[in-house]
Symmetry: C2
Subunit: 151 residues, 2 copies
Amino acid sequence: MFHMEPEVLERFTWYMREQSALTVMFHARVAEQMGLSATDEKCLDLAMRADGPLTAGRIAELSGLSTGAVTGVIDRLERAGYVRRVRDPHDRRKVLVEVTVGDVDKFGAPFEKARDSLVEVLGHFDDAELEVIERYLQLQIGTFRKRVIDT
Amino acid sequence: MFHMEPEVLERFTWYMREQSALTVMFHARVAEQMGLSATDEKCLDLAMRADGPLTAGRIAELSGLSTGAVTGVIDRLERAGYVRRVRDPHDRRKVLVEVTVGDVDKFGAPFEKARDSLVEVLGHFDDAELEVIERYLQLQIGTFRKRVIDT
DNA sequence: GGGAATTCTCTTACTGGCTAAGATGTTCCA
DNA sequence: TGGAACATCTTAGCCAGTAAGAGAATTCCC
């Protein structure tokens, strides 16, 4: 790895910080738009990004909430029509949380605006540059998850 | 602007989504590490990223909390030693919230790990590539703020 | 200049979500 | 089969949030 100028690192740190703050604001907007609390939206996002349906307990682990709190979260999400409780046929103690909305991106202005914003940004780069950016994003996500989150 | 392949957009959308979720987890880690609630950490972050000291009312606007809630937030942050209340000498109704910790990046493992992660990622790119990535980040932050947040 | 209206923060009463602990129902295994 | 382990739900109590209004300072306007 070659030498990294301190000013470069400082600038990129600022970008990360700014992105981070914008992300928090974005989540607040989405939650408000969907008529959910930040906690409920966060749990719904977890359930939607997962491969299969999550169990209530797994949502508690991932969200950091108690199992009791998750019961309330699922109650509210179910009442709002975003998810459905399904008992796991292989282990009837478990409750699987099935997301009943096809595609989240359909939900509300914030997602549409975010997609439009992404299209506009990507439009400023040619294929070779997009390749660099994509490699950066993949590396950034993988490295951050490994070194910061999964610890 | 040239044609954007749907698969490309889909992949980048996934990256955004993943970054977004990691960011939320990161904030939760930072808050836990600092002994603060998510709300308190969010407000402290607002105060730290601002140019000068913010007023209590401005924090309420930016955070979306009521002014009453912000009073409690500042109470807790002040008790924990992160900020200090200072009456604005030019308008003594106002309460300026001064951050008393020099540099946030000094706080706890999550920030250090995030910086290490960033250094590792950037190390995989040469100067020309970094220039592309930096231009992407600047555009992404500016466009997202303009089209998604400031509305 | 001075009284009224406005602005800013804090206080209060109340609501609602969170945790901890235990209850209920299910599965695993000796 | 019976008991231990497990997954979720329920309950009681607590704490942070909102809304409304009080108190203090400032600005407006005659």
